[in-house]
């Protein structure tokens, strides 16, 4: 019984962590290129609503996921034009993108409230998936869970080992130096911002197609902000972001199980604060100098105007 509950809790934690992970990975790439996009929540909502509408209308999960990536990347493109081409303030523009995405998703989704779609299919390998505990944990999830893990590994490798990854980091660390070397700073940043948007869209789509197959205004309920905190918590590194996503997702689910078991020694509000508190602790640790290697990209949030 106890093992059964523990396994169930871990499976639930995985579904809680996956949307956070997808959105946070996208934002990691954007921030590594030096762009702070606070519009994650709005982009996730646009992704969630677009995925739900397209899947409802066409019956295809794949089209739904593509629509989510496109719609969220659309918000990211608007953000890009304002902050990269027109060099507007990134913080203000990002907040505006969240408010815009929240409103637009509510408008588009109004006709779809109260409907439901078939959740994303789960992996089922004969025999292997039925192995107690291990099979249940690792071989019975939906495809997006594995996709998120694969993207984490791919990004970690690409950012560390490939030329494209190094250009991305160079643009984020010193835009003028990268520009002097002949790299297209604005172009790289556009690509990173659009990638961030598409990933936030996938994260939102996971909510509306897999974890709770429905649409309601404000479906993401603040997960975009947690994803933003996760990027800092993970020190802009994919594997650490993954650890953070599973930690935060796990804590959230753990507190629900504890409440259900009648164990309420820690107020639930305190547990809800943990992601943000942990982020502040990590920020303090980083700025205290002990881990200078883990500092934010130097050009994060700074507009770049090529001198020509």
């Amino acid at each position: 019984m106890t093992v059964h509950v523990l396994v169930a809790a871990l499976v639930t934690a995985t579904t809680g962590a996956t949307p956070l992970l997808l959105a946070a990975l996208g934002e990691t790439v954007a921030e590594r290129a030096g762009v702070l996009n606070l519009g994650v929540e709005g982009m996730m909502l646009m992704g969630a609503v677009s995925a739900f509408i397209v899947t409802t209308e066409t019956g295809s999960d794949i089209l739904g996921l593509l629509a989510a990536m496109l719609a969220a990347a659309g918000i990211a493109a608007i953000f890009g034009v304002l902050t990269l081409t027109l060099a507007a303030n990134q913080v203000a523009t990002g907040l505006a993108a969240t408010i815009f995405g929240t409103g637009l998703s509510a408008l588009l989704g109004a006709r779809f409230v109260g409907k439901s779609v078939v959740p994303l299919p789960r992996l089922h390998l004969p025999v292997l998936s039925d192995i107690p505990v291990l099979g249940q944990l690792f071989l019975q999830q939906d495809g997006m869970v594995y996709l998120a893990l694969a993207i984490t590994a791919g990004l970690a490798w690409a950012m560390a080992k490939t030329r494209a990854g190094m250009i991305l980091r160079a643009v984020g660390e010193s835009d003028t130096a990268a520009h002097a070397l002949g790299h297209n700073v604005i172009g790289v940043r556009y690509a990173a911002v659009l990638f961030g948007g598409a990933m936030a869209g996938l994260g939102g789509a996971y909510l509306s197609l897999a974890s709770t197959p429905m649409w309601i205004e404000g479906l993401t309920a603040g997960r975009g902000w947690i994803a933003l905190a996760l990027v800092v918590f993970g020190a802009w590194r994919p594997w650490r972001v993954l650890a953070g996503a599973y930690l935060f997702g796990g804590i959230n689910v753990l507190q629900l199980y504890l409440q259900g078991a009648g164990f309420v020694a820690v107020p639930t509000q305190v547990l809800a604060m943990i992601p943000y508190l942990a982020t502040i602790v990590v920020l303090m640790a980083m700025s205290s100098g002990g881990a200078r290697r883990l500092q934010a990209p130097s050009c994060l949030g700074k507009p770049f105007r090529p001198a020509n």
């Binding site: 109004a110 109260g114 909510l207 709770t212 429905m214 309601i216 404000g218 309920a221 603040g222």
Partner: protein, 364 residues
């Protein structure tokens, strides 16, 4: 457009300041004919969208009933998505300036704004849903949702095999607590060993967390689920897991056709028609009412396929008992979680006591 089932019943609290700021998108929409000198203009102020298929949707059904009942004699309109707080006051003043003479405000969080604005416009008539303050031109009205909870509890007590129900709840405020208590007391009146596991979400809408909470309750032995939330995530989980549950604030049989046993639904129309009639007659006065099944304003949705004949009979009997007064959900003896008797045998909690309920009964 189809009529989907299911969602939102925001009331009481806002879901955090950020949400309030983001959701502050009020838009005034006029319904009805051109303004005539003799027409009574009546406005409704909603905290959620009318498309929420839940709490606000049901208020708007009431508004439409008023428009249909009085025809050209009244002109109704509404403002949706009004944030609780200063924005509400601005909206109320705007309504006064645009010629409305009667305003129904439908969220607990609007109460203080209504009281302040009402003081400045003594000729206006205000009606505040779910509050506790009144004035000479501010009436208060509310529904006894807990009566529906009692009926659900009786059914849960009869149909649960494990004797454990899972209850996903928004905030520990009296309105939510009285619902949990009524549900638990009713279930225990059938099965004295019945237990209700409660999980607090601390939000009105967070479908992801609601679903996770519901899953954790099922994993821990609950075989019947209910909720006091704005989305239908809990009922969706019940449907996915193949167990039973109760909808609230709206019929959720479309989302959970097999899981839903019944649902508590609101019917505001009778009160709205009566009060607008009084305003037209000139007989309107302030007051404070708490209406329920007896007045036909709290209703149970049609029974789902999971109901056994015995459970149907018990649910019918519980409803009849509440209507004729022979069933009193909060009649003593009632003990709290620690076992201390809060309501002695032979006494019934007064409405004032129920409205301030901040303790959970034994069995939660």
């Amino acid at each position: 457009m189809e009529n989907p089932m299911g969602l939102i019943s925001r009331r009481g609290l806002v879901a955090g300041a950020a949400a309030a700021a983001v959701m502050a998108r009020p838009g005034v929409r006029l319904v009805g004919g051109a303004k005539a000198a003799t027409t009574l203009k009546v406005a409704w102020v909603y905290t959620g969208p009318v498309a929420d298929m839940g709490y606000t949707f049901e208020h708007d059904e009431g508004r439409q009933a008023v428009q249909a009942h009085f025809g050209d004699a009244v002109q109704t309109h509404y403002v949706e998505n009004v944030a609780e707080g200063p924005d509400c006051e601005r909206v109320l003043r705007q309504l006064v300036e645009s010629g409305d003479t009667m305003v129904f405000s439908t969220s607990f969080g609007f109460m203080n704004s209504v009281i302040r604005v009402a003081r400045q416009f003594p000729d206006m008539k205000f009606e505040q849903a779910t509050g506790y303050k009144t004035a000479t031109n501010v009436a208060e009205y509310n529904l006894r949702f807990y009566q529906g909870r009692w009926v659900c509890g009786v059914v849960a007590g009869m149909l649960s095999k494990s004797g454990i129900a899972g209850y996903v709840a928004a905030y520990p405020i009296p309105e939510v607590i009285m619902g949990i208590n009524a549900f638990t007391l009713a279930a225990r009146s059938v099965n004295p060993a019945f237990r209700v596991k409660v999980i607090w979400i601390n939000n009105w809408v967070d479908p992801g967390k609601e679903a996770d909470a519901a899953k954790s309750l099922v994993d821990q032995g609950a075989d019947i689920l209910t909720d006091h939330m704005d989305s239908s995530a809990v009922m969706q989980t019940a449907e996915q897991r193949g167990i039973l549950g109760f909808g609230q604030s709206a019929d959720r049989s479309k989302i959970a056709p097999h899981a839903q046993l019944t649902a508590i639904t609101d019917n505001w129309a009778p009160y709205y028609v009566k009060r607008v009639q009084a305003a037209l007659d000139g007989s309107w006065t302030s007051g404070s009412v708490w209406l329920g099944m007896k007045e036909g304003m709290v209703k149970m949705a049609p029974y789902g396929p999971g109901m056994t004949p015995a459970a149907k009979a018990a649910a019918d009997k519980a409803q009849a008992g509440i209507i004729d007064g022979s069933v009193q959900p909060f009649a003593g003896p009632i003990a709290d979680q620690s076992g201390t008797v809060r309501v002695p045998a032979g006494t019934i909690m007064s409405d004032a006591e129920v409205l301030k309920m901040d303790w959970m009964v034994q069995g939660t």
